[in-house]
């Protein structure tokens, strides 16, 4: 079969992912040259006087401290809006840890091919929401921003800043990244991104029926039980099952590999 579309989406996705990663590598270098109009990590980024704040960490922290500021709410608004409209694209298109996770998964799978543990949506749907609820409840009870502390996107974008700009590695960043790395290497495939990451769960939680998502047109599909869309999905999702969309991050990989144009973004 020929891939007429030649993985157009995936190519663009890689461009975006690497651009974000390079941006956070370049940021501390800019600081060294005293350019500070752009500052932050994936926990919160400031561009001039414009704020982009990751909602999961900020809201869990606000709840834990019972302090809500308008700056916080204005900062999370564009990120929440993006998730409401475009789905959890933060995970598949933006997060540098997502990029690393995909890479590690590919390497691991090449060394020792592994199956996705069970049908992904079954194992991933409720545990991640329960886990997020527990984390948020614990954050509020212990007055600790557990979501922010466990955020892999924060840690991975903080690392270049610490190494290049501060010439140190904060123990928090080191512990989080090491922990997540070990989980990526020994635990079921991509379980951090699919189940454990509170940032990803929050993004998935913001999916509404009107949110852009990959729709399957059964009449066009001519694939047998195992289809390329399912085997190629970096998240272990079967796009032909309606229930799967919880774990889907709109990475569009399935649309790229579908031989019959049975999958489309709508």
């Amino acid at each position: 079969m020929t891939h007429r579309k030649q993985h157009v989406w995936t190519r663009w996705r890689r461009v975006v992912q690497f651009t974000v990663a390079l941006f956070y590598l370049a940021l501390p270098v800019l600081h060294l040259f005293d350019v500070r109009t752009v500052a932050g990590t994936l926990a919160s980024l400031r561009i001039g006087s414009f704020d982009l704040t990751e909602p999961a960490s900020a809201l869990a922290g606000a709840l834990a401290s019972r302090t809500f500021t308008t700056t916080l709410l204005i900062g999370i608004a564009p990120v929440v809006l993006l998730a409401l409209v475009a789905g959890p694209v933060f995970c598949s298109w933006v997060c540098p840890w997502g990029l690393i996770s995909e890479g590690l998964d590919k390497v691991r799978n090449r060394i020792a091919p592994r199956k996705w543990t069970g049908e992904t949506w079954r194992v991933s749907r409720w545990p991640r929401y329960v886990l997020l609820a527990v984390l948020v409840a614990l954050s509020a009870a212990a007055a600790l921003p557990l979501v922010a502390l466990l955020s892999a996107p924060r840690a991975i974008t903080s690392l270049p800043l610490e190494i290049i700009y501060l010439r140190m590695i904060s123990p928090l960043t080191a512990i989080v990244l090491l922990g997540v790395l070990i989980i990526e290497l020994v635990a079921p495939r991509r379980i951090w991104c699919r189940v454990l990451c509170p940032v990803g769960t929050t993004a998935a939680l913001l999916r509404t029926p009107k949110t852009l998502s990959v729709r399957w047109e059964e009449s066009r599909c001519a694939c047998p039980r195992t289809a390329p869309c399912h085997t190629h999905c970096p998240w272990g999702v079967d796009p032909r099952k309606k229930m799967t969309y919880d774990a889907c991050t709109n990475c569009m990989g399935c649309v790229d590999v579908c031989p019959h144009d049975a999958l489309a973004l709508r």
């Binding site: 500052a39 926990a43 834990a64 401290s65 302090t67 924060r154 800043l161 501060l166 123990p171």
Partner: protein, 169 residues
């Protein structure tokens, strides 16, 4: 005076950290701060660093080690905070990071050696610190706790140190 059995633990986890200007009370601060590092990045002096894990709940939160690099009260970090863990104050006189404490046993001035380094270097000199009639440094309650005096003190161990404003009890 009744001291909690866990006072030692609190002394590690809270209250011993010197926060950037504008920080809200310690307990809420560690909870609200998302460790986004924006205050660290906008500080032109690299005064602000992420705290280590010995501060358990405060791991990754911004701290200032005044003897290494104090706060020069440029007031760039408070408006950089996205969550309000640092209140966006811009008037350095409203800062309340801590208060300077002079150790009379080691302070040169108290040993009869003429020294007024801390008084001279204080950004709020004569307001926050002044020399009394005996030429000894005296800190007033207008001291904001920036730590410049702790940095410049010529004694081997600084004879003037900042006690962070908040010691959680």
């Amino acid at each position: 005076m009744k001291t909690s059995r866990f006072a030692w633990l609190r002394s590690i986890t809270a209250g011993r950290l010197l926060r950037p200007p504008g920080a809200i009370d310690e307990r809420r601060f560690a909870a609200l701060c998302t460790r986004c590092n924006r205050c660290i990045e906008v500080c032109p002096y690299k005064s602000i660093k992420p705290a280590g894990i010995t501060s358990i709940a405060g791991a990754g939160t911004p701290v200032i080690l005044a003897r290494e690099i104090p706060c020069y009260l440029c007031m760039k970090c408070p408006p950089a905070c996205p969550t309000g863990a640092l209140e966006p104050i811009t008037d350095k006189r409203r800062v309340k990071m801590g208060i300077a404490v002079v150790d009379e046993k080691t302070c040169y001035a108290f040993q009869g050696i003429l020294c007024r380094t801390c008084v001279d270097e204080c950004p709020l000199t004569e307001e926050a610190i002044h020399q009394d009639e005996m030429l000894m440094p005296r800190v007033t309650d207008r001291c904001v706790g920036c730590g410049i005096c702790e940095r410049v003190c010529p004694a081997k161990q600084p004879a003037i140190t900042i006690r962070p404003r908040e010691v959680v009890t």
